[in-house]
């Protein structure tokens, strides 16, 4: 049984593939998108439990993708966690303000990724302690 459907959005193939393999191995239904454009289409076509969204992408970056996703969806917003090589506080605050629920700094360890995703999708479950999540609005 799948623990949840996760979309990984990153222009860098190595990171994208690593995240996919790690999450698939942990029991998630993991899919990938190579650009914000592709992610927006996939998100329009079907429902994901969580989107891992890279901030630094060419053309449409993570912020713009998130804003357009919010503009495109209804009352039940998709959960989005941003990830980025930068770990600066301003980005973290901005991601909460834009309605993201977590911020993961790259490079991430295999265990850390599984733990973070687990805490978001299964708060209070055996996969990790609950994280305080910002209201998606």
């Amino acid at each position: 049984m799948s623990l949840g459907r996760v979309l990984i959005v990153d222009d860098q193939e190595d990171i994208r593939e690593m995240a996919r393999i790690v999450l698939a191995g942990a029991g998630y239904d993991a899919e990938v998108a190579r650009s914000g454009d592709e992610a927006l289409r996939l998100l329009h076509e079907s429902v994901y439990d969580l989107v891992l969204l890279d901030i630094d992408m060419p053309e449409l970056d993570g912020w713009a993708t998130l804003r357009l996703l919010r503009a495109d969806e209804g009352d039940d917003p998709t959960r989005v966690a941003m990830f980025s090589v930068k770990g600066d506080v301003r980005d973290k605050v901005a991601s909460l303000k834009e309605g993201a629920i977590d911020y993961i700094t790259k490079p991430f360890g295999v265990d850390e990724l599984v733990r973070r995703v687990g805490r978001i999708l299964h708060p209070g479950g055996t996969l990790g302690p609950a994280v305080p999540t910002a209201s998606p609005r």
Binding site: D37, R41, A71, R137
Partner: protein, 437 residues
């Protein structure tokens, strides 16, 4: 080499569409910006000479954002949009079109092609319609989701007509009509201020101000401790409402003059009204540090009427002090040295956070009626008052409950540490004859 798949171009195109839509269609209100209605408006104008434009702007919504954050702003707009949606078929004719002024939305633009009877709108009909919209929206602001908002939401509603003129580009005609509707409330207000401002200045020149006096009662003994002076404009004029008069004086640059007039009238009459009792006199923060007090002019006035600075309590509003608190620390210390008492008024209305209290070190804290009213049955208000009383006792200030209307309120205030109170429960403001005879 281009590594894109053929689908990439389609995805890219879709993103472009999303960008355009998110720029023209507001998410919070689920309402289009009015440029999306151009075609519809053009079609309407082929059938009639002109279309009514009603512009609806929440006047203090910026404050909502600064106090509660952008989410609250969006929620408020969404709530307003829901109300606006119900106007059609009621205040607005069925054919009315609803849009927002921009994205993200901070105002609404309603287009009204025809009146309720389907006939072309007259100026009077459109004005009446706009007034009805305003009433409805402002009364809705007592309901969810606005009920928790402080201050109450107020709405500016203006109107104009849109008509076709082949000499001008149509879109620009629409923008101009929207701007005209938007600026109408402000233009009206300016015109009113100009007329009323001239009248107010005339009143000040002729010193046509009345002073009313309200007793400040000592709660333990029930005896009259002092009197607060209230200034009123001439009877049966709009200046009879002090709030309107003082707000207007501020807008037309006559606040200092009006303040001086009210004060000297109060001090002159005060000797007669309140022998051996305190005179509470309201003063604008800006005149607190003014030369009149420091130079001895006020003391001279007092001496000539047989009173001393010790008999006078200068009241400033915590609301009015605001950011000026720091600059008022020195003048208020000086006034206290001269013997005057100092009272901070409107305490408990919120946004100060103790700054004025700390800087001015008042002798009296006058707690606002919004805290006092119904305090006997409201634990939150009791807690607010008790907190204020603790702050007061820390700086040695006596607590005064303002706006007391029942014996239960008075008793609760006394129990929570208030020494004095005023309000209709004891006596309302009245002319000096009432207190001297």
């Amino acid at each position: 080499m281009d590594t894109r798949r053929p689908d990439d171009a389609l995805d890219h195109f879709r993103t472009g569409y999303l960008k355009l839509r998110s720029a023209l269609h507001d998410r919070a209100t689920r309402t289009p910006a009015y440029p999306l209605l151009f075609d519809e408006l053009r079609a309407q104008l082929e059938r009639r000479r002109r279309i009514g434009v009603v512009h609806v702007e929440p006047a203090n919504i910026d404050l909502v954002e600064s106090l509660y954050g952008w989410q609250a702003f969006d929620r408020t707009m969404a709530g307003l949009a829901a109300v606006v949606g119900t106007l059609r078929g009621e205040e607005l004719p069925e054919g009315a079109l609803v849009s927002v002024g921009s994205v993200p939305a901070d105002r609404f633009v309603l287009f009204v092609p025809a009146g309720h009877d389907g006939e072309e709108l007259t100026h009077e009909a459109l004005a009446a319609l706009a007034a009805a919209v305003k009433v409805r929206l402002e009364s809705a602001s007592d309901d969810e989701p606005f009920a928790t908002l402080t201050p109450r939401l107020s709405v500016k509603v203006g109107w104009s007509f849109l008509s076709e003129d082949p000499f001008y580009r149509f879109e620009r005609r629409v923008h101009a009509a929207v701007e005209e509707a938007r600026s109408l409330p402000d233009r009206r207000a300016q015109e009113r201020d100009r007329v009323w401002g001239a009248e107010l200045k005339q009143i000040i020149t002729e010193a046509r101000i009345r002073t009313l006096w309200q007793p400040v009662v000592e709660l333990d003994s029930g005896s009259v401790f002092g009197f607060e002076a209230f200034s009123r404009g001439p009877r049966d004029s709009m200046f009879e409402m002090p709030r309107a008069m003082f707000a207007l004086s501020d807008r037309v640059g006559a606040a200092g003059d009006l303040d001086r007039l009210c004060r000297s009238a109060a001090l002159r009459e005060g000797a007669e009204v309140a022998a051996r009792r305190k005179l509470f006199v309201n003063v604008l923060p800006s005149t607190l540090g003014g030369s009149e007090w420091q130079s001895g002019a006020v003391q001279d006035l007092l001496t000539s009427s047989g009173r001393a600075p010790e008999d006078v309590v200068i009241e400033v509003s915590e609301r009015a002090v605001g950011a000026e608190a720091e600059s008022l620390a020195e003048p208020s210390a000086m006034l206290r040295l001269l013997g005057f008492g100092l009272a901070l008024d409107d305490v408990g209305t919120g946004r100060d956070g103790g700054e004025a209290l700390e800087r001015l070190r008042p002798d009296y804290l006058k707690v606002d009626p919004s805290v006092v009213r119904g305090i006997d049955g409201n634990l939150v208000k009791q807690e607010i008052f008790a907190t204020l009383a603790r702050q007061g006792s820390a700086i040695g200030a006596a607590m005064v409950g303002v706006g007391v209307e029942s014996v239960e309120e008075a008793e609760t205030l006394r129990r929570l540490g208030a020494r004095y109170a005023q309000g209709y429960h004891f006596a309302g403001p009245a002319p000096r004859e009432r207190w001297t005879s």
